[in-house]
């Protein structure tokens, strides 16, 4: 599948190879680990990344999170696009 750089609701995001979700045992908070670095994740970012398996689309992730948090899609859409765009820029996720 071609790798694309623009994130849309049809994009299928996945964690980049060599990154791994883990828990910071000192704080109990979720983190994303990658070579030589760590991103401390907010609960929202962690929830978003937990859905990024390369199979489901961003649109489907938004719908799933809206159901999970009993919220409207619109604010969640902004969070998801913003979070994934920033991680994409740092090559921590790939989208197809």
């Amino acid at each position: 599948m071609p790798i694309v750089h623009i994130i849309t609701e049809q994009s299928r995001p996945a964690l980049a190879s060599g990154t791994r979700l883990s828990i910071d045992r000192r704080t109990g908070e979720p983190v994303l680990l990658y070579p030589e670095g760590v991103v401390e994740l907010s609960p929202t970012a962690h929830a978003i990344l937990s859905h990024c398996n390369g199979e489901v689309t961003i649109g489907e992730i938004i719908a799933a999170l809206a159901a999970e948090f009993e919220s409207d899609c619109q604010p969640i859409r902004e969070d998801v696009i913003d979070c994934l765009s920033r991680l994409r820029q740092r090559n921590l996720i790939v989208v197809t």
């Binding site: 750089h5 980049a16 190879s17 060599g18 791994r20 883990s22 828990i23 910071d24 045992r25 000192r26 704080t27 983190v31 680990l33 990658y34 070579p35 030589e36 760590v38 820029q89 090559n91």
Partner: protein, 368 residues
């Protein structure tokens, strides 16, 4: 204030098939036996409990330890992100497969040059072709690959070729690491230190490449502190974020701290890792800012560079507790500057390349 470690550097052995003259291993090795597998596994578990997130398996050459997969597995079980820092010598397909299977996360391979003849001469071994092969295999297995090149007077003019090499290998990260002058590198510094002109050109080439390759290949280039006015924030502060366990189990605030005369290190065979981090003399000696000498004590940069590097202060000024001589405010800066100026004549370079060893004092392995 209480600090927590993020990275454990596990120096599994000082044995290495290469003999690079810029190695930062101590020029005099610690005495004693290498740790047993179970001791390393315990150290890894304790590190994770303390909040460590990354473990770097290093050396020497970590592949010289046949129990490396057991240690990687321990890191994975403890939730740590593991990175193999290797020359790639000894990385057969079977070993790479096994490391992948037990959960190794990433691989960093050193290159001495983009050219086999130069690379092999600097390494003191036939290595370059094996590195190329190993790097391709690492990519095939889906590991993220970091290429590390230690820069010095003989290879720094080939920065663009080195960048092309990393690009061709599909690396996602390239560390263009100017030699740090400790250990063997300090012994060889008069033949290793690039000229000011070389540094300026390299910095410009690195900057251009960073822009060109943005989003594809992350490039790190840091101007060596012999050429800066401000010292580096060494280890992000003593005993703040990093800990190193050396092959015999001594725990050090930085990999080269054993060169500081009079500093005593506690060993994981005698104490728990958390006790050593919190309580030991070595970790507390230069921790925080209370110990800072003048002019650091009142300096506006004291929380940015923490007084610089203790090992460099010991090596250049003969006292680990003074301001890093790389700082323009250090009374010892002039001594460093005189050395830097003595390396600017282009003449020295021709003299050196006419000798077979290039004037290097090559790194030797520990005896026994």
């Amino acid at each position: 204030m209480s600090y927590r470690p993020y990275l454990l550097l596990a120096e599994l052995t000082h044995r290495c098939p290469l003999h690079c003259p810029y190695c930062s291993n101590p020029a005099s090795y610690p005495t004693g036996n290498e740790l047993e597998t179970a001791d390393w596994q315990r150290a890894i578990r304790e590190a994770a409990e303390m909040g460590v997130l990354h473990v770097g398996f290093s050396g020497g050459e970590p592949l010289q330890r046949h129990d490396l997969p057991d240690l990687v597995a321990a890191a994975r079980a403890a939730g740590l992100y593991s990175n193999l820092i290797t020359s790639a010598i000894g990385l057969s397909r079977a070993r790479a497969d096994e490391l992948k299977r037990v959960g190794l996360d990433s691989v960093q391979i050193s290159f001495q040059s983009d050219e086999a003849s130069v690379g092999d001469r600097i390494a003191g071994a036939t290595a370059h072709a094996k590195k190329l092969e190993a790097a391709r295999m690492v990519k095939e297995l889906g590991f993220p690959l970091t290429v590390n090149v230690v820069l010095h007077r003989e290879n720094i003019e080939r920065l663009e070729q080195l960048i092309s090499l990393a690009e061709a290998l599909g690396a996602q990260r390239l560390e263009l690491a100017n030699t740090q002058y400790y250990g063997w590198a300090f012994r060889n510094r008069s033949v290793l230190l690039p000229t000011r002109e070389q540094i300026t050109a390299a910095a410009q080439a690195a900057e251009k490449a960073k822009i060109r390759l943005s989003g594809k290949l992350e490039i790190l280039f840091v101007t060596p502190d012999y050429y800066t006015d401000r010292p580096k924030p060494c280890m992000n502060g003593w005993g703040r974020r990093f800990l190193t366990v050396n092959p015999v189990g001594d725990v050090l605030p930085c990999p080269t701290a054993s060169e500081i005369p009079g500093l005593r290190f506690d060993n994981i065979l005698a104490h728990g890792l958390a006790w050593i981090w919190e309580e030991s003399e070595a970790f507390n000696r230069f921790r925080g800012t209370d110990w800072l000498p003048a002019p650091c004590r009142n300096c506006e940069f004291r929380e940015q560079d923490f007084g610089g590097c203790r090992c460099q202060a010991a090596l250049i000024a003969g006292d680990a507790a003074v301001t890093d001589p790389a700082c323009s405010l250090s009374p010892y800066r002039e001594k460093l500057t005189r050395f830097v100026e003595s390396c600017q004549s282009p003449g020295a370079k021709e003299d050196r390349s006419s000798s077979t060893t290039g004037g290097f004092s090559f790194r030797q392995n520990p005896s026994g």
